[in-house]
């Protein structure tokens, strides 16, 4: 007789290669909070896939246990969807940068949001292209000088939070790399949320972004879900309104919005009929279906 002992998943199970980020990079905080949240979920690393694009932040999968797929710049979202629909039993987490997700990946991001697959998406938002050595990103503030904007940035930064809500994401939050506790709990909530959960993680680039630094954020962030806050996370308009507060004033962090909608995988006709097609296996058309199809061509 065998006895199955459910082994507790510990932080060690979520370790992998040593991060290659610059010392002090905001992404370290993101990584450790994510690992903690993963432990909290007690998910199995073998059933978890971390998907990323290309950028400093997109090296993330190499630093976390579980399966990883480090895709192309801006293409993590479709890859994640291909994984999730093929095998809905996997936990799928997408991680990447603001350039990756909001410039080249903008279309993929918002379409992912509206589809509401059960995927968690984490942007390490440092308002800069790190890996390509300092160019303006879609969240760079006006006037900032970078190697691509030597005379100052002249494009209005976007609000990924507001866009995600508008596009139909069912869980939308912002947090800050230095707020470890909040990060961990938001991350956990996102992982456990059934549907598309988006986190805009403020994660300073200590090497290139000399404006939006740790201190700069520390002075500005406030907890949207603080006990004394009257923010209602089920109120989409309230969430859009809060998301409209830009970097010129105080910056709300916390869960902006959460709602429940059926996930895409719950609605897909193939999954409804067959469940997980990977588990089912790659099979020839069964004779009955074959005849049904052929009849349509007679």
């Amino acid at each position: 007789m065998t006895e199955t002992v459910e082994l507790r998943v510990t932080s060690k199970d979520w370790q992998s290669h040593r991060p290659t980020w610059c010392p002090g990079c905001g992404d370290f905080g993101v990584l450790s909070a994510t690992r903690k949240a993963l432990v909290n979920t007690q998910w199995q690393p073998k059933d978890t896939v971390i998907v990323s694009g290309i950028g400093c932040s997109s090296n993330f999968p190499h630093f976390v246990g579980g399966y990883g797929i480090h895709t192309l710049h801006g293409r993590s979202q479709p890859v994640a969807q291909g994984i999730k629909l093929s095998n809905p039993d996997l936990n799928v987490i997408v991680a990447g940068g603001d350039g990756d997700g909001l410039a080249i990946g903008m279309g993929g991001f918002l379409h992912a949001a509206r589809r509401n697959m059960d995927i968690t998406y984490l942007i390490m938002d440092n308002q800069v292209y790190g890996l390509t050595v300092n160019q303006a990103s879609p969240t760079s503030t006006m006037d900032r000088k970078t190697r691509s904007t030597p005379y100052g940035n002249i494009e209005h930064p976007i609000s990924p939070v507001q866009l995600a809500i508008s596009a139909g994401a069912t869980f939308v939050a912002r947090t800050f790399s230095k707020e470890g506790k909040q990060f961990e709990s938001i991350m956990q909530a996102a992982l456990e949320h059934k549907g598309f959960a988006f986190i805009d993680a403020l994660s300073p680039c200590v090497t290139f972004n000399k404006v939006n630094t740790y201190d700069w954020f520390k002075e500005r962030v406030y907890d949207l879900n603080a006990p004394d806050s009257d923010h209602d996370t089920s109120d989409k308009i309230a969430a859009l309104t809060k998301a409209d507060e830009d970097f010129s004033g105080q910056i709300p962090i916390g869960i902006f919005y959460q709602t429940q909608k059926p996930t895409y995988e719950e609605l897909d006709p193939t999954i409804q009929k067959f469940g997980n097609v990977i588990t089912r296996g790659a099979l020839k058309i069964d004779p009955e279906t074959r005849n049904k199809i052929l009849a349509d061509f007679r």
Binding site: R75, S86, L90, I285, I293, R298
Partner: protein, 598 residues
């Protein structure tokens, strides 16, 4: 007396030409014939000019008819676009001069005009169904060829059933009216084709056989974005995929279509995606990605007239260069051309096997003519090709087999492949260069002697798969007489196969002893074998002609690059219409008698 059946229905978009053509083609199929059907249409939804050409006979019919014997010319434009270029003495045109205000239409000499008041007849039956006249015309054609009205009736019953008895009834009346009108007012077509209702076939297009083949090959994921002429693959699978365990996902663009397909493959699904030239351009980057992470994905490229948006509803074999060049760097992938309607069924399955066994992207080269024409098939063998998944690990890996190395160096370059969910198989699959374990060598290891070595090993490992695959692929075979008997060798590829061979058969009458080499496996390429074939024919004094549907002769150039053999004479077509056997025959005649004028 005609020894085959050749019909075209011509009219404007909205006349119901396509469904009428389908009906007619299926009537012929159910009458025991082999049918070839091809449509012509425009990039416009209503009002544009469309046609549906049908050729049928008792034996296999694999090329369009050279001339149309019976034309249903509904609109004035039908005479310009169809009657004039496609008819000759002896042909008959059914048209309705009053109903569609056609006065003194121009026709080639010797063509008979049969003016049938189809519109009025239809109105008399029921004036609420606007395009009922097309059923009248079809009924008339059925009568012209002496087909059985009952077969037509059965078709109509099946087709209109879901619209209710009344509609069925009205259509039956219309068919009968057309049928009777011909019986009473005109002479039938004299032909020697024998009908046999006991025979049974399906009437299906090249896109559909490819889709059906993939589905029977255990396809589990198909992603797509609509693009003519690849759309029917997506529609077919959207309909039938959910019945056979295939998830079908329309994405927001082709970039994401292709990356979705890579994700599905990584997760362990048999995965394919499809598009046409412009969409394929957008997929380029994902092809290299699939290759470096060694994910098996089938990419379907159904080409249309280029460049750019070009001629979206016309055919061309113009995307070979693009397929050969898609994505940066050197990496293993296969390119295989679909050669025929039945071929699509088997190729669909074979391509998935190749993709999974070699863990590489496979590109299927098709084109509008190949994908959108139809033929009657019987005897598709659903069991011929087994599902082969290669070195796939789906069971948990035992602790004593560790470490598992996703990109392990092996003799054949193929590493055992694990899918997420398998215990002890965890690794990172990355688009950067990596070591056996999947760890990056592009970042902090790059440039160190150890990483340089890893890079070289992984490049060699990946490329080695091309050698293995080449050995497995069937070498090219020449159809027709050998070097000593032939006086002509025609070299073509993919969709041109059957038209070329029909033309060669015709040209026998002109004294041509023609052989045909049609390239199917493009990458890896049997350069040695093809070179030998070409040189064998050349040294035997056989003339060699290249035929392909593009401006620069992309395949002939490719062959030269791979074999050093230059095929100097080429019959190239690039205006978008599908090639007729008689046109190839004409080119052959010119070529044999001195030289091609282009």
């Amino acid at each position: 007396m005609l020894d085959q059946i050749s019909i075209r229905l011509s009219g404007q978009n909205g006349d119901g030409i396509f469904s009428s053509g389908d009906t007619l083609a299926k009537i012929l199929t159910r009458s025991g014939l082999k049918v070839h059907g091809a449509r012509s249409y425009q990039s416009i939804i209503r009002g544009g000019h469309v046609s549906y050409s049908i050729r049928a006979n008792t034996g296999d019919v694999r090329a369009p008819a050279d001339y149309i014997d019976v034309m249903v010319a509904i609109r004035p434009d039908s005479f310009i676009a169809d009657v004039m270029p496609m008819m000759k003495a002896g042909g008959k045109v059914l048209y309705d001069s009053k109903g569609f205000r056609i006065k003194d239409p121009e026709v080639p000499e010797g063509v008979t005009l049969i003016d049938i008041p189809a519109m009025q007849m239809a109105r008399d039956i029921d004036s609420s169904i606007k395009i009922l006249y097309n059923t009248v015309f079809v009924g008339a054609v059925v009568a012209m060829y002496g087909l059985e009205l009952e077969v037509h009736e059965t078709m109509l019953k099946g087709f209109f059933q879901r619209k209710g008895d009344k509609v069925v009834q009205i259509n039956l009346e219309a068919a009968r009216a057309g049928y009777s009108w011909v019986e009473e007012n005109t002479s039938k077509v004299e032909h020697s084709v024998v009908f046999d209702r006991s025979k049974d076939g399906i009437y299906i297009g090249g896109n559909e056989t490819l889709a059906l083949g993939m589905l029977n090959g255990g396809l589990q994921s198909y992603s797509w974005y609509p693009m003519t002429p690849a759309t029917p693959v997506g529609s077919f699978l959207a309909t039938y995929g959910p019945l056979s365990g295939c998830i079908v996902k329309q994405m927001e663009d082709e970039i994401n279509v292709s990356n979705y397909a890579v994700g599905a493959a990584f997760a362990g699904a048999r995965s394919a995606c499809g598009t046409s030239g412009g969409g394929f351009a957008l997929m380029s980057e994902a092809i290299g990605f699939a290759s470096i992470i060694e994910a098996p994905v089938v990419f379907i490229e159904v080409a249309r007239g280029g460049p750019s948006t070009g001629l979206p509803t016309k055919t061309e074999q113009g995307d070979l260069n693009q397929m050969l060049g898609a994505s940066q760097g050197d990496f293993p992938r296969a390119i295989i051309a679909q050669e025929g309607i039945a071929d699509g069924f088997y190729l669909g399955q074979e391509s998935l096997n190749i993709a999974e066994k070699y863990q590489m992207p496979v590109i299927i080269a098709s084109d509008l003519y190949m994908g959108e024409h139809f033929e009657t098939l019987d005897g598709l063998d659903f069991d011929r090709i087994p599902i082969e998944r290669g070195k796939l690990i789906t069971e948990d890996i035992a602790d004593d087999e560790l470490p598992y190395l996703r990109y392990k160096l092996t003799d054949d370059g193929i590493s055992p492949r694990v899918i997420p969910g398998v215990a002890n198989g965890m690794h990172d699959a990355g688009s950067d260069e990596h070591d056996e374990d999947g760890a990056l060598v592009s970042d902090k290891r790059a440039g160190f002697p150890e990483a340089i070595e890893v890079r070289i090993q992984q490049m060699k490992k990946r490329m080695k798969k091309m050698d293995g695959l080449l050995k497995e692929l069937p070498p090219p075979e020449v159809w027709g007489p050998g070097p000593d008997e032939a006086n002509l060798l025609v070299v073509s590829w993919g969709s041109s196969r059957d038209t070329v061979r029909e033309a060669l058969t015709q040209a026998e009458a002109d004294g041509v002893k023609g052989a045909s080499l049609n390239i199917k496996y493009i990458l890896p390429f049997h350069g040695k074998e093809v070179g030998e074939i070409l040189r064998a024919y050349e040294s035997a004094g056989v003339k060699i002609l290249g035929v392909e549907a593009n401006y620069t002769g992309q395949m002939m150039r490719y062959i030269r690059g791979e074999t050093g053999f230059e095929i100097k004479d080429k019959y190239l077509r690039y205006e978008g219409e599908y090639i007729l056997p008689r046109e190839v025959r004409g080119a052959i005649e010119q070529f044999m008698n001195g030289g091609l004028q282009q």
